[in-house]
Amino acid sequence: MIKNYFKTAYRTLTLHKTYSITNIVGLTVGLLAFMLISTIVIDHYSYDRHWKNSNQLYRITSEKKVHDQNFSNKFESAPKGISAKLKTHFSEIIHYSSVESRPLTLQINKQKKQIAEIKILETDSNFFHLIDIQTIAGNPKQTVAHAKNITITESVYQKYFKGEVVVGKVIDNIPFDGKPEPYYINAVIKDFPHNTYLHTEAIVVMPIKTGMEIESNGGLQMQFLLLKPTTNIASFTGKINQWNEKHNLDNDSKEYNLELQSIKDIHLSITPRGENPKKPIYILIAIGILIIVLVSFNYINLSFAHALKRTQQIGIRKVLGASQKHLIIQMSVESMLLFGSAFVMAFLCYAIILPAFEKYVGNPLTMTYIQSAVMSIVLLFCWILLGLLCSLIPSLSFFNTKISLGLKKQLSLLRLPLNMGFTKILIVIQFTIAIVVAICMMTMHAQLQHIYTKDLGYQPKNLLLIDYVFYNGNHESFKQELLKYPAIESVGNAMWTPFSGSVDFHTVDDPSNSKTPIPVIFFYGDYDYLKTMGIKLIAGREMSKSYASDALQLDSLGNYKPTPSNMLVSASTAKRFDLKLNETNELLKKTPVGIFEDFNGASLKFPQSPAICFIAIDNWQQGSVVIRVKEGKHQEAREIVQTALKQFFPDQIVRVNWMDELVYNQYKEEEKQFQQLAFFTMVSILISLLGILGIAIYTIERRIKEIGIRKVLGATAASIIYLISRTFIILILIAMIIAFPIAWWLMRHWLNEFAYRIDIPILLFGITGLFILIGTMILVGFRIYRATTINPVSSLRDE
């Protein structure tokens, strides 16, 4: 009996190749897209769940009790030393550790001048009680007193020490200032998996300080606690806050409320800046679900479209005594074959695409359908179940329709057009989804173009940035060396650039409302900095060596003398404080001698700071360098800079980047979202087109006699095409009417994340909808045209 079902199903599918191939292609594309999307989502949710203590490992975060409107009040860290103090007071804590992630530059080989910058976790020996590591050589818990102890990962070993016995080796770092420090390599461990917040290339172990030795001094530090499994987190959090308030002797710590965050939640937690990393994940999940909805609707639509060819077969079976159960099983077996074939093909494509996909994502994916049999089996099970559910609707519909001996002496199923209403609804839903995502994609593209091309107030094009250099007194000679070359137009030193360095924040009273403080940013550079950045001066004069009060000076100890000095201000600052040139402002305590154009030094997702002031610095110990390069001289300029860096700073690892690339990379996440949406748009349009093609084929076959009669009576191909495609035009127009407000709402929401954004392009909505309509009509119209070329004698033969 089962054999009969499979035989019939197989033969039915091979006999009706167009139906089968259309279905399998749609299912394969949809399933493949879903597999790729779900792999990313699973990877994100897998972070830090692999540690044996992951259920007991918590990070202490803090929030200021008194909120400052102008600065961040939530922190991913906690007052320094608090974890040590908590350990002495609470038995719930098994271990504690502080962790800091930073880069470390090491002299791998002095003779060969080989240096390496690696990412390290600076922590204490308790760290190894919190997380599980696999040691390859040495012992990370065995430390020496005469040097800092470093445990390197296998990939660092392979990259820099391959073949050597490295445990026991001492290598020096390359500090920014002061003497190099020795680092004792005490072990080599297996690489951490990528899906951990604690991802690192090496671990440096510092001595553990007790609670008595450190006071926070207002400083914060990343700290972790390993708690007993029976700890009730909510009540424990209450207890530690109570203790902090009443018994902690460190007054700085009392300014904060403490929270405990599971290590498993860190990766996807909202940042102190308010950015929610779950948002793009939710978008991906929504895309994945919508893809499954689309392929399901497509399958149901194509099944109904295929019904005409099946009515005879189904009618005969019913006449011969087939029950509802028999029909359902028959259609279920067919769906299993189709869905099963699609699964095999999608799986193969997934296996082939995966390496390239991991490259696109930027990291290896630890949980994939290839590596996890459980994931694959669950997916197969759910996929087949979906196929069975999809087959249920058409099979129940077929069984409930009446059979009769029709005029043509062929069995036919009455009331089949009832199913057409259902398929029309599905078509409208499919196209609504396709139009919404297409509009969202186009709007995203327009917004990205806007932020890429927006005038930032400075000129990132042809601007090279040397990230950070310790000058060793060579800042001027380095600058002059670069300026020797015609390819270099100008050079400026800076304590801050849009992508590196730091600024000074002060708050001053708002001149219009003395009760409200506003943050004022002071950034520092040399006399050539603003000119090199391309920031325009619109009033007053530039800073110059000729004026003694124009630059901060260093005293004999290397500290900046806090003497009143001149400054340049942004246009909006001048307006805000009603500044007069060359008149000292009491609030800012400096004298503006020039006004520069406003510029955006941060991502256009965030609003500009309300007040920005520039101070010049004369003597330099360290900083960034900005270099304006002549148009078309990029390669040459880069070589000049690299040569000069090797000459002046041979022991430093220095990052050199093009500013416009850094600007572009700020929107990497948005660019990725756009790419994902573009991919999904193509998938959804493809699937929707397959669906409507199936319905078109069904409609044409149902009306083939009508077409023949109309041709005989003199109708043109164009009039027949219009007659039959009218229904589809109406369906797509309905889909557009539903899609437009949904797309408008979604894009308004997305655009609100940008301080600088386009207006929602309503015209784009119409263009996108029209594009989809025209594309669909071409496809369907071509099919209808083919039907009009059939000789009416063939289609009217039975009359």
Partner: protein, 222 residues
């Protein structure tokens, strides 16, 4: 076997009501071969649908082997149909995806006959209609006459009490048509009741009795 009394059947749309069968009364004895004739649109096919339990009647009574079946629900009708009635259609209505053997086997599958017995019965009936040598062929590979013999085999494989034939020779040439009529005659001689709708006076002569219809009513019996 069949006792139809004051049968009425209407086809209704929003605008019009058509009377397909108008107070029709007819009887068919067990073992009889009855031909039903009449012009197109007189209600022959409708009558056959009702006799074959493919359609329901609006008024009247239908006794099948002494049991009133007029009010039967679809499930009961399907059960009665598959165990008692075989159908032979003008356009054969074989399933293209199944071989000759599998087409004939189908009614036995739906009546839960075990596989071994199915094989025996199918082979026996294929021998009877002389199509055994084509058992593994598909309908598209057979001539019209051969397809109709397969259809007849399928109709009788379950040993039905009644065979309903709707213009069984309509798509066949005279030689093949004769072969099919002889098959039906043999079945009738073996005891199977046959009700056949036909336009052909030649085919009607094979029957014991001819019922002539016009406008949904029986006007004559010969």
């Amino acid at each position: 076997m069949i006792k139809i009394t004051n049968l009425q059947k209407y086809y209704r749309t929003e605008e019009i009501e058509t009377i397909a069968l108008n107070d029709l009364t007819m009887h068919v004895k067990s073992g009889e071969f009855v031909a039903v004739m009449g012009p197109s649109g007189c209600g022959k096919s409708t009558l056959l649908n009702i006799i074959g339990l493919l359609d329901d009647l609006d008024n009247g009574s239908y006794l099948f082997n002494g049991t009133e079946v007029a009010k039967y629900k679809e499930r009961k009708r399907a059960d009665l149909r598959k165990n008692n009635i075989g159908f032979v259609f003008q356009s054969f209505n074989l399933i293209d995806e199944l071989s000759v053997f599998e087409n004939v086997e189908l009614p036995l599958i739906y009546t839960n006959v075990p596989a071994k017995e199915r094989k025996q019965r199918v082979e026996a009936v294929l021998e009877k209609v002389q199509i055994m040598h084509r058992r593994n062929h598909f309908p598209q590979q057979l001539s019209g006459g051969q397809q109709q013999r397969v259809a007849v085999a399928r109709a009788v494989v379950n040993n039905p009490k009644l065979i309903l034939a709707d213009e069984p020779t309509g798509n066949l040439d005279s030689n093949n048509g004769n072969e099919v009529m002889e098959l039906l005659t043999e079945l009738n001689e073996a005891g199977t009741t046959i009700v056949m709708v036909t336009h052909s006076e030649h085919d009607a002569k094979f029957a014991d009795r001819i019922i002539r219809m016009l406008d949904g009513q029986v006007i004559m019996e010969e």
